[in-house]
Structures are given as C-alpha cells and as structure tokens.
Symmetry: C3
Subunit: 206 residues, 3 copies
Amino acid sequence: MSITSTLDLAAVLIFALSGGLAASRAQLDIVGFVFIACLTAVGGGTLRDLLLGRDPVFWVQQPEYILIATGAAIVVFFTAHLLESRYNTLRWLDACALAVAVSAGTGVALSVSAPAVIVVTMGVATACFGGLMRDVVCNEVPLILKPGELYATAAFAGSLTALLVLWLAVPTFIALLAGAAVTFLLRAGSMVFGWQLPAYKSRPPR
Amino acid sequence: MSITSTLDLAAVLIFALSGGLAASRAQLDIVGFVFIACLTAVGGGTLRDLLLGRDPVFWVQQPEYILIATGAAIVVFFTAHLLESRYNTLRWLDACALAVAVSAGTGVALSVSAPAVIVVTMGVATACFGGLMRDVVCNEVPLILKPGELYATAAFAGSLTALLVLWLAVPTFIALLAGAAVTFLLRAGSMVFGWQLPAYKSRPPR
Amino acid sequence: MSITSTLDLAAVLIFALSGGLAASRAQLDIVGFVFIACLTAVGGGTLRDLLLGRDPVFWVQQPEYILIATGAAIVVFFTAHLLESRYNTLRWLDACALAVAVSAGTGVALSVSAPAVIVVTMGVATACFGGLMRDVVCNEVPLILKPGELYATAAFAGSLTALLVLWLAVPTFIALLAGAAVTFLLRAGSMVFGWQLPAYKSRPPR
C-alpha cells in the first residue's frame, strides 16, 4: 500500500469523525451522520482527483474508504454524548485531518509530476475542502473563515515544507510527514496559544 | 432510449420544477428561475458522472436536458402564484425527484460495474446533491438537514432495495422501479405521518 | 496565446481582485485572501473544464493562473483600506469579470464544438460560478440572487449575443468581445440605472 493511499485512509477516517460530530450538532439521524461524514471524508480528495484528472476518483474503485467513513459515523452517533465538548473535539480532529490531508494532497500531486505551485495548491485544496463542505452544509461558520486562527495558512506552510524538504533529497514519505507535522503544529499553536497572522481589519466592512 | 436516460430525464424535469419554486421563494426574475432550475436539475447527475469518470457528463452532448429544465422553469415562473402553498409543493416535487434520481444514480453505477458500496453511494449522491445545491444557493434550510424527517435515509433504503431486488435475478428496470417506490414511500410517509429514525439529541450543541 | 487563454487570464485576474475584497470584508489574514481569491478566480473555469471533460483543468498545467490570483490577493490585502467603498468596488470588479468570463466560457465551449444550448450554458456557468462560490463561502448574499438586478440575465444575453454574432460569419474574437460588451453593459445598466426584469413577486413566500 502506497504512502499516499495510507495518508488518504487516515484523512478519511479522521475527517469522517469530525463530520459525525458536525452531524451531532445538527441533530441528524444515523443516516444523516453517515452522509455528512462521507461528504467531509472524501470531499477534499475528490476535488483533488477531479482537478488532476485522476479517473475515477480515489474512493470509487475502493469501497473501503466509504465503509471506513460509514463506520466512523456510526461510532460517533453512539458515543458523541460521552464527550465533554463536541465542538472542541471537532476542532482537534479537524486539525489532525487537516495535517494528514495536506500530506495526502501534496503527495498525490507530486506523484503526477505537477508543477510546484500546483503541488502546494493541491495540498491546501485537499486539506481545506472537506471541512469547508462540512461547515457550509451543516451551516456552521467555516473553520477556514474564523478570524484570528491559522487554518489555510497552516495547510499552506505544511505543503510548502514538504516540498522544500523534498528538494533536500530526503525520501518522499519523510518530506510528507514533515509537512503534516508543520501543519498540525501551526494549527494547534493557533488553537492553544492564539498564534495568528495579522488580519485585514482597517475598518468595518461596508 | 435506455432506462437510465429515461430516469435522468424524469429527474431533471421534476427537480427543475422544484428549483423553479425555490427561485420563486427567493423572488428572482425569469433567468434566475432558469439558473436555479438547471442547477437543481442536473446537479446530482453531474456529480455522479464526474465521480464515475463518465466523460462528458450526461447533459453536455444532449441539449434536451437543459431545454427541458428551462421550459419547466418558465412554466413555474408563470404559474407558481396559482399554488396554494409553494413550499409544500416544492417538498412533494422534491420527494418525487428524489425517488426517480435514486434509481437513475443506482442504474448508472450498475451499468459501469461499480462495487455494491459505490452503487448505493451513487444512488444517494445523485438523489441528494441537486436539492442540496438548490437549498444552499437559495439560502433555504437544506431538506436533507431537517431534523425529524427521512431524506438521505429514504434514498439509502431505495438504492439498497434496488440492489437487493436485482440479486433476485429480476430485470434491471423492475429493480430500479422498486428502489424508486421504496424511496418515495419512505419520504412520503415521513412527510405525512412523521416517520423518522431516532435523531441524535442527547444534549444541546456546544 | 489563444483568445480563450487571454480571456481566462483576464477573468482570473479580475475575479481574484473581487475575491480579495470579499476576504477583506470577512477580515481574513493574507493566506485567507489568497485562498478566497483563487477560489473565485478559477472556480467558474474549473467547473466548465470538468463539465466539458477538458483534462486536466485549465490552470493545473499552467501555474501562472494561480500565481496571478495570488499576486492580486496580496495587492488587495495591502491596498483595500484605500478604497472609498470596498463593496461597491467588489461589485464593479465582479461585473467586469462576469463579462470577460462569459466570453471565456463561450469561447471554450465553441472550441470543442458543443451544441448551441451547451455553449450558452457554459458561458453562463463559467461567468456565474466563481462569484457564487466566493459569496457562499464568505457568507455574503450571492450577487446572482440579489432581487432587482440583472446578473445571470446579463451573462445569458452576452453569451447568446456572441453566438448570434458568430453566425454572421464574423471572426470569433469579435463575437466574443461583443458578448463581453453586452454582458457588461446590461450589468452596469442594472447597477447604475436599476434596469431589471420583472421578478416573481406575487405573494410573500410561504
């Protein structure tokens, strides 16, 4: 099993858990949990594969991905009430999935020899799109739009890191792990210590 | 004309009518009606075809689909004011379109020999995605997220039914009709009698 | 460089500026600006290419598009506070981008010999989809849904104009320019003079 397949699998699992938690906040039934979990889990990778012309998309010939997301949704349905704070758990799961998905997106784009700019774009798009769809559909404020938090920025830095490390002639999977680590550390630091970039805030919108 | 083309045609027509009604609630002009109607009508099938790598998507080489959706939107523009309740009509049209689109999605996935899990996923995605886009764009609460209603669940049960009936060596079009019937009955029962699955409701979201 | 590539380039640049302004209204940081700008800039053309089966989509093999959108976002981040009214500027940039993108969409669809109905559909979809995604993600009321304004209508008229002019055996790039001009004039007239089509307004929604 290739490194990118493994990363896709991990991203699918963790994003599916976060999707289940979003479904619990919308008070859906168990099929609604599965729907939102699958949407979140495969959303980013599906966009990446469509954009790169990978045909068919990664989960269509391999039912395992959908089954894993379904299983994760069912587990969340029956256990989410045990959590102290579902929203906080959702954010941390999302941070983990973001990190893993950055690597998966970067890795796939590298494997089809995309130009560097596109590799980074795919890393960010794969990482951000699943969670964005989850939040738009569940009518939550998208995490990517929360002012004062690193989100797309963390994904961007992670994907760039993977690319730079790779140029040092390091094996691919180490470069991808480095990218995931940087993404997670920046996102976690933002959530715990309030790290942020200066936001545009000159005047109220009008 | 194949059974799946016929089903696609019926789903396009009925979803377009529901899209026109959503446009009437948003008080758009006639081109806005056509835009929302087309988005709703071909949204689910387009996603399905992109995911399965069917190239190009079903309506691009066959202008009839867009023309039918356009015609439906124009009819709704001039007749919607005659309706007793536009929202209620929208929900019933959506239920019909959901049922037909489940069959269309399931049938197309079967015709490209997708694995069983993917067949069901395509049935649900084809059925739910057009209405979801309609509701997100028109800023309505997505029907799929309404607590206490069967929606994705009805689509899931219908697609599964079609698959199970097919395994009994029944002709494809009968299996697809059975799937549509199950979807419609569950959705209609949910709207009329309040049928529902238990929703996640342990504690208020936080 | 072909006429459609030039139009795509112009649409990417102008849509990216409008995306940057939407990001400024959401008070994002600089990476958020780039994210929204890229989404807006390539959204419509990406949909068009996926629907037409153009593989890969126009910007994936040519990093320039993403770099231009990124540059535009950075410029907006540092200069948006100088604007008298960011929302008004956004609307005018969007009108320009709409006009250019109508031509780009129409031109690409013509170049793959799509039927006339599909050519017009692609013109409208290419033009409207980037701005629609920008507005849905940034939680603005989509410009396309503003009652009492020509938007999809302007795009539709522009695409149809290009097609009709082309049937007069006029060179393609003149036909495309005529389409862009009609789109811009209708949209601008709608913003300045309140031109509109009668909207559906018989009774309040229910």
